[in-house]
Symmetry: C2
Subunit: 323 residues, 2 copies
């Protein structure tokens, strides 16, 4: 089974490619695509890598003409950039997604599994106590709007039999490794990743802010499960909120204290930012992910486990500021 990963140079895409290279399952070949050339992983799995601009419909058709049985569509302009550049956000996040689905539809006798990363940003306040899969999509950002429209297309193209889609609403990935991107949610990771490396981090919101998280490993697990799960029972509702972990900033900090000690916690500097506070106030806090759980998606057991995983995967098992 050939797999195509669109957005393979991104944090999640690169990890998914590495995961499939290490443990391919039924995958016999991998094509990595992104706006920059993704780095293929050394492995016995045949892989090639190249650039793909989703806004170029002809290029998307050419990529799909190789008829991969599985397509992971992870490519997106992040929320902050989509909000700042209205046209670019719609061009990449919406038209790009539609170009992909149209390129698939144009191929006769072809119905690939399409795993689409959506986002909890499809939901907007006011929220119920826990957001179930039958709560409306009322996004408060253009990014969320574009993802919600992509979900609707995924459902309709699946219903018509053009593709076999699964939409995966990823929680905020935490601890996000590497350098910050333009996402306003960056601090959720910064306040853990930086102190774990012995560096200072800024906390721009109050300790009582609650949010919905998943580790990088859990996120890759969601995507891999979406690749192989049966889809017959999904009906016309192909998009699922993944089982994240609901935690306040205070709970994140206490987990950090348990794993890395007071010295790490002392590196968190409180510096309220009205803009970020306002943005975050519109974000969801807790979900009812029972539908995804019943379908076999597995989340993280605790925030301690999320932090320990980061220490193992990114820091070679060593905390920089233990004390």
């Amino acid at each position: 089974m050939q797999a195509l990963i669109i957005g393979a140079a991104g944090m999640v895409g690169a990890r998914l490619a590495a995961s499939l290279a290490a443990d391919p399952g039924a995958i016999t070949g991998l094509t990595l695509a992104d706006v920059v050339v993704p780095r293929p992983h050394a492995s016995s799995l045949p892989a090639d890598a190249g650039t793909l601009d989703l806004t170029d419909a002809a290029a998307v058709r050419a990529a799909v003409a190789r008829r991969p049985e599985v397509i992971f569509h992870l490519a997106a302009i992040v929320s902050g950039e989509a909000e700042a550049d209205f046209e670019k956000g719609y061009a990449v996040n919406f038209d790009g997604t539609r170009n992909l689905f149209e390129a698939i539809r144009a191929q006769a006798d072809y119905r690939p599994r399409v795993v689409f990363t959506s986002s909890i940003a499809v939901f907007g306040a006011p929220f119920p106590e826990a957001i179930g899969d039958d709560f409306l999509s009322a996004p408060l950002t253009s990014y969320g709007t574009q993802k919600a429209m992509g979900e609707l297309l995924l459902n309709d193209y699946s219903r018509k039999g053009y593709l076999d889609g699964v939409g995966v609403r990823l929680p905020t990935v935490c601890i996000r490794p590497g350098v910050p991107n333009k996402a306003a949610s960056g601090f959720f990771s910064n306040i853990l990743r930086e102190p774990l490396a012995g560096k200072e981090a800024v906390l721009p919101v109050s300790d009582t802010v609650r949010h919905w998280h998943a580790s990088p490993r859990a996120a890759i697990g969601f995507l891999r499960h979406a690749m192989t799960m049966p889809t017959e029972t999904l009906g016309a509702r192909r998009c699922l909120s993944m089982p994240g972990l609901s935690a306040t900033v205070a709970e994140q900090i206490e987990a950090l204290r348990r794993v890395a000690g007071d010295k790490a916690v002392a590196l968190i500097r409180r510096q309220p930012d009205e803009t970020i506070m306002r943005i975050v106030a519109g974000w969801p806090e807790t979900f009812d992910a029972s539908r995804a759980r019943a379908l076999g998606f597995l989340g993280d057991p605790s925030f301690d486990a999320i932090i320990e995983q980061h220490v193992a995967d990114e820091l070679g098992g060593t905390v920089g500021a233990k004390g």
Copy 2:
């Protein structure tokens, strides 16, 4: 205040134009547009009429360049046709809507009230007992998908300040005058309109089928109220399910019996149609329209009133098959 009606040759559009011509309120001029030239109504209200193809972005920009303060966007390919012709449905119902919103965005210092007719087809089974405004859009048709995407765009363009949108999810209009169109919902009107005119009508579903209705007068009232209502309290959720009337086919028939007698009812011929039964089984039955009611939208008082209104407006007060 100048108003533009897109879709002015359709049943609802023509009635809205007639209503504004008869009782213009703050409207001082009317432009009627459709794929065929709409017939302007004789009135003291300055009006012009012309063709407009929503899929022609340049033509849409030209129509909007006249900067009407109110735009009614009623144009659509109906559900049956959008299901049969995937590309045409998306081109008109979605790209056409986007062309309109983009043409508005392209005008500097311009933020018209845009009244967009959406549909209860944005919802799909399984349903709760009454569908509230916070229930998800999970359409089971391409038409419903296109309307749901239009709603998302309307919300996002309103949030960004490009336009001041109100989305009006019309119940099924009943009694729909004139000749049947390609909508699968046609029988809800046929079983009343045809017997009232002394003609036979076919009922393709069971008497227990429940659905959500509004008279033509109520529908025009919804659109007129959406034109003038304050929108500050809508927040980011600009689309509202209108207060329809929930009734079974049996209740419709009993209302017909009360207004027009047994002879009219005897003209209904039961001829089950598996295809229509299957389509209708996926349709919503009852809504919780309390949000729209609180905002001042007024529905029909009873099915008897709906039938009496049709007799007054369309039949000159005379039932063809009284007996």
